[in-house]
């Protein structure tokens, strides 16, 4: 091969500039895709803002969530209107309590129930689904049959029985909601596990004598995490809705504490004379649910291996 010295030098110089190409992991790819999705990023920011307001908002008001403004109580439809001067930014409810602070306090409860309920559902659902899919055989069919039976229960029944059995306690609400919402999660994870099960690395782990629980926890669960995350963000709004529904029936949080659902049901009773009692909590609920849905869609687009 005939080549001149300066050509070799040029090539060497060029080679010095080229940085070693770094491999991109699935999560890095996903992050890049996620941040280029404007709707999802905007939703994330709005959600963080709502959370911050719900946590910090009450400190900026002179009222407490169970304080009664006796002055406004005399005529809710005029004195209870949203008003900056007497610091009822969102107005008052029929008992003269400040809607702004109650909406924030209700937001804390609703978000907490949504997130904690999803965590319960994810933990149970992922472990159940992964175990059922990985072990397979008779165990799998028994576990799936059990799931089918649970699925044919009218599941509001469970919540109502739990509420009446153990009394109305905020912690119980999300355990109850979470415990009935893991069914779909388990089914999705099982489906994923079935396709992962025959991959080489699982076989390798099995050949090395890794125990079954360890294979499930260390090798299966991390690899189904993508779809779990997506499903979880779509689960949170459902949880918030479910909690609202339970509160609406009068089985949810106990007075004087409140949640968005409870506020909405109170507001709906007085909507003809005091629309702000319905409008504010409803606005917060709708925006939050919208954002969670967009966030979930964004995450799915980012993490779904089918779309690559």
């Amino acid at each position: 091969m005939i080549t001149t010295k300066d050509k070799i030098q040029a090539v060497e110089q060029f080679a010095e500039k080229v940085v070693e190409v770094e491999g991109r992991s699935l999560w890095q790819d996903a992050r890049r895709r996620f941040f280029s999705n404007h709707a999802a990023v905007t939703s994330l920011i709005i959600l963080l803002l709502i959370t911050a307001i719900a946590l910090l908002g009450p400190f900026f008001s002179q009222w407490n969530y169970d304080d009664i403004d006796w002055e406004a109580l005399s005529d809710i439809s005029t004195l209870g209107r949203p008003n900056i001067e007497n610091s009822h930014y969102f107005g008052t409810d029929t008992l003269g309590r400040d809607i702004f602070v109650r909406t924030m306090q209700g937001g804390q409860i609703s978000l907490l129930v949504g997130i904690m309920g999803s965590v319960v559902a994810i933990v149970i659902g992922t472990l159940y689904g992964a175990a059922s899919g990985y072990i397979g055989g008779r165990v799998d069919s028994v576990m799936m049959r059990f799931l089918e039976i649970l699925n044919s229960f009218p599941f509001m029944f469970f919540v109502i029985i739990l509420m009446t059995l153990f009394g109305r306690h905020i912690f119980l609400i999300f355990v109850a909601i979470g415990a009935i919402s893991w069914l779909d999660m388990a089914r999705i994870v099982r489906g994923q596990t079935l396709s992962l099960k025959n991959k080489e690395y699982i076989e390798a782990a099995y050949a090395c004598g890794v125990s079954t629980p360890k294979i499930i926890l260390r090798h299966i669960v991390p690899n189904v995490l993508g779809i779990v995350v997506v499903y979880a963000t779509l689960l949170v709004p459902n949880m918030i809705l479910l909690e609202s529904f339970i509160s609406f029936l009068g089985l949810g949080v106990q007075e004087p504490m409140t949640s968005w659902g409870a506020l909405i049901s109170e507001g709906a009773q007085n909507m003809e004379i005091a629309i702000w009692q319905l409008a504010w909590p409803l606005g917060f609920l709708v925006v939050t649910l919208f954002c969670f849905n967009f966030l979930g869609d964004g995450l799915r687009d980012a993490l779904d291996p089918k779309d690559r």
Partner: protein
Amino acid sequence: MLTFISKRILEAIPTLLILITVSFFLMHSAPGSPFTSERALPPEVLANINAKYHLDEPVINQYFYYLGGLLQGDLGPSFRYKDFTINELIAQSFPVSAEIGIWSFLVALLIGVGCGIIAALRQNSWLDYSVMGFANLGIVLPNFVLAPLCILFFSIYNHWLPPGGWNGGAWPYLVMPVIAMSTSYIAQIARITRGSMIETMHSNFIRTARAKGLPKYRIIFQHALRPAMLPVVSYLGPAFVGIVTGSVIVDVYFGTGGIGQHFINGALNRDYSMVMGVTILVGTLTILFNAIVDILYAVIDPKIRY
């Protein structure tokens, strides 16, 4: 196919039995009894009533009494509504819920699938965003919000529709319940349809159909729609049961007298036989429609054989 259907029916029996057993014991383990009320009955009368309904016997005996009645198709007397058996109450309220439900189902199916297809064919255009935004509204506006808003708009501000009642199912009384029932289902169906339609339109056989120069409407309706409906059908089975067995929200707001209110009130009032009756009805319908979905699967997708 016949063996598959009979196998599903045989499988349903133990499932139903477990359902009945678990809900019976759960219900009876809740504190309180149907006859605890503020105005206490004289203890002798209470003892008589309890003896009449076997409530003074151990729960296990009550369970067998109940199963015995059930085998004869008797769901027992209501503990709350005087002079009514559960059979009568269900026979009275279920047709109402079913009528609202079937209309809502048809509306949800037509609009949902329509929205989904339109959004999928114009993926990522303004049409897609606005159609899906509209459909998503159904998810974020729960029906306990939608129902009062409907009344506010249609009845109080505009006097277009009666605010409630049933009147034998005349259509002005049907409109608002159907709106309140169908929106969340429209949203779900539209989302699922859009997703699976996009996936189908990217598949190879659609490309082949396009390459052959088939007109677009034939590609969509003859080739793409059938496989794209598979995930929708699996959602529709449980959804149909949910929609037909009514909603407490609709019953409470519009005073339609459907089955939804009976279940919630029954649970709150410890009307044991009412809760059991509704549970059995819903459970049976769920199992039935899951089986129907499985059969429909085989009809839609020739690759699936039983």
